[in-house]
């Protein structure tokens, strides 16, 4: 473990105060991300999975500097990048990029595909005007959109999959090292999703990229990542190699998530763990449950779970989990 991870997130907390009432009094805090730590090695593919409001997107935005952390730090190649000023942050943009979930609003509707991609080069003043254009068409070829057909189209004329390809081209034209993918395919149809996922895998190899892959769809994350972190209500509850997570899920929430995947074949069905159904729905991050945040829905919850937050338990080199069920062994 001597090698410095490319991206290191340590004890990250992101809280948002809530103001209410006449005097805009602070009445509470949304604990969107609470004490999350994980790291990604160069060339790694870390999958972050969790349901709505689990804090996945907030983590992504914090890494990219859109949101400022309340405490904790983020290191990139060993250097602390949380709390940077605007100027240094801007220099970092060519190293880190993000691809958004919402294909329909992530491209400015009043610009053509060519301009949309070229703007990244304009901002960083890379190459001459002609070189920039060439680079744009080269990127379009990488994402399998023939430049002669697409350069001068407006986003409105593109399908969801094509828009996402344009977004990918724009993110990669700066040759970043880390790409944060925030639900890159959840707005797309299955037949298109598969195409985009395969493209992302291919580009990762070609450009030697490191991915942080965020999704609520565990079956996608299982296929895409080598390491998976499972989030519940702002906390990381289990981290492990994707094989470990699938075959040997330790946290009851992970198990519930896996068992809820709607699978289609008998073969897959046999892999699924059999668990009792969860009660209720994901709670609110405003006043999260005490102790283990999952205890309100957990079929195995004991009285202790409501009182104290369990510590991390190491299962094997990569696999750790935070649950009292495991601690007993």
């Amino acid at each position: 473990m001597s090698e410095v991870p490319l991206l290191d997130i340590r004890n990250l907390k992101v809280y948002f105060p809530i103001y209410q009432g006449l005097l805009k009094k602070e009445v509470g805090t949304v604990r969107a991300v609470d004490n999350v730590s994980f790291n990604i090695k160069k060339g790694g593919l870390f999958g972050l999975v969790g349901e709505t409001a689990s804090g996945k997107t907030t983590i992504a935005k914090t890494i990219l500097g859109v949101v400022h952390p309340t405490s904790g730090e983020i290191r990139f190649k060993g250097e602390k990048i949380s709390h940077l000023n605007d100027e240094s942050r801007r220099k970092l943009t060519s190293k880190m990029q993000m691809i958004h979930q919402d294909t329909s609003s992530s491209l400015n509707p009043r610009k053509k595909v060519g301009e949309l991609i070229k703007v990244a080069l304009d901002i960083h003043r890379i190459g001459t005007a002609v070189e920039r254009l060439d680079e744009v068409s080269r990127m379009l070829q990488y994402v399998q959109l023939p430049p002669e057909n697409f350069l001068s189209k407006y986003p409105a004329a593109l399908s969801g999959g094509q828009k996402q390809r344009v977004a990918i081209a724009r993110a990669l034209i700066l040759k970043p090292e880390v790409v944060v993918l925030d639900e890159p395919t959840s707005a797309l149809d299955v037949s298109v999703q598969a195409k985009i996922l395969n493209l992302l895998t291919k580009l990762k190899k070609e450009f030697n990229l490191t991915y942080l892959f965020i999704s609520h769809d565990l079956s996608v994350v299982l296929n895409m990542s080598d390491t998976i972190g499972v989030m519940y209500l702002g906390e990381l509850v289990e981290v492990g190699g994707s094989e470990d997570i699938l075959v040997n899920p330790m946290h009851p929430y992970t198990r519930a998530l896996i068992s809820a995947i709607p699978v289609i074949s008998e073969k897959e069905r046999n892999i699924l763990p059999k668990v009792p159904p969860l009660r209720g729905e994901i709670g609110s991050a405003i006043n999260p449950p005490t102790g283990c945040r999952f205890h309100t829905r957990c079929p195995y919850a004991k009285e202790k779970c409501a009182r104290e937050r369990p510590n991390w338990v190491q299962i094997n080199e990569k696999h750790t989990v935070r649950c009292y069920l495991v601690q007993r062994f």
């Binding site: 037949s191 565990l218 079956s219 519930a256 897959e268």
Partner: protein, 338 residues
Amino acid sequence: MTSPILSIKNLAVSFNTFEGEAKVIDHINLDVGEKETVGLVGETGCGKSVTLKTILGILPIPPGKVTNGQILFGDKNLLTLPTKELCKLRGRGISLIPQDPLVSLNPVFTIKAQFLDLAMRQGEEHVSRINYYRKKLNKKQTQQVVKKIITMLQKVQIPDPERVLEYYPYQLSGGMAQRILIAISLIGSPRLLLADEPTTALDVTVQKQIITLLKKIAEDSNLSMLYITHNLGVTRKIAKRVYIMYAGQIVEMGNVREIFNEPLHPYTSGLINALPKITREKFNGIDGTIPDYVHPPKGCRFYPRCPSADESCKNQRPVMIEVKENHFVACRLFQEGR
């Protein structure tokens, strides 16, 4: 199979658009049997929702237009039924569970207001103002209906229904809103439930709860259900029989397990191939995009994207053929052998 409760025969629907007439539903046939749950699977924009709206008679006309076919509910043709009869059927014969629960409740009314009006007025074509207030001010009757609503909410496992009734929709979570909508769709004791992707907007764990609930309700109350979704896994969980739809045409129909284990139509197998599986097998998408509905391919609408297409697919529309028992497919590959 007993006689179907819903039978769509040769239905064709088109829309008048800027570019011309878009033929969105192209002569489909579909049956839902008594006490049967049938899945209708297809990707975005393949005409699932239009089919559903046509059944309920809530398709906006114009720009929509039914150009051919019949929709039989029992022995009544819904397309030619007088409005009065149709009003009697909505909610009491056929009801709808909508797609996105959080936007399917009117944001400026309490749950109670919407539920109560619906429950008290179902099946009527017109409500005069006087009649409306007379009925509303009848305390005894109102109380009875409220009681009925609360029982229904308990049936869909809503905790503390009295309090939830006073809520506005934005105070609900997605799962809760969907349970309420299921309760609303059940209040008139319909015989057929039309479910329009009811779990798409929900988290997987909640999705599982809702599907279990729907299955139980359908069984307990002997309901038939037409379940529309783009999610193959969900279809497998809830339905026995499935129709696969592509670009306004039904391309394959049969037993869910049989189709998912041995898909016959190239589109079906493409879909199944595209799905990321937890066995981590390779997956691959389908090239191309859905065709333009104004000028759709003359023959098989899937032919431009089909890996096994040839010249004959271009001009000849394949007909549905029973390849195995109760397994139909519309594809040239299976026509030639016969």
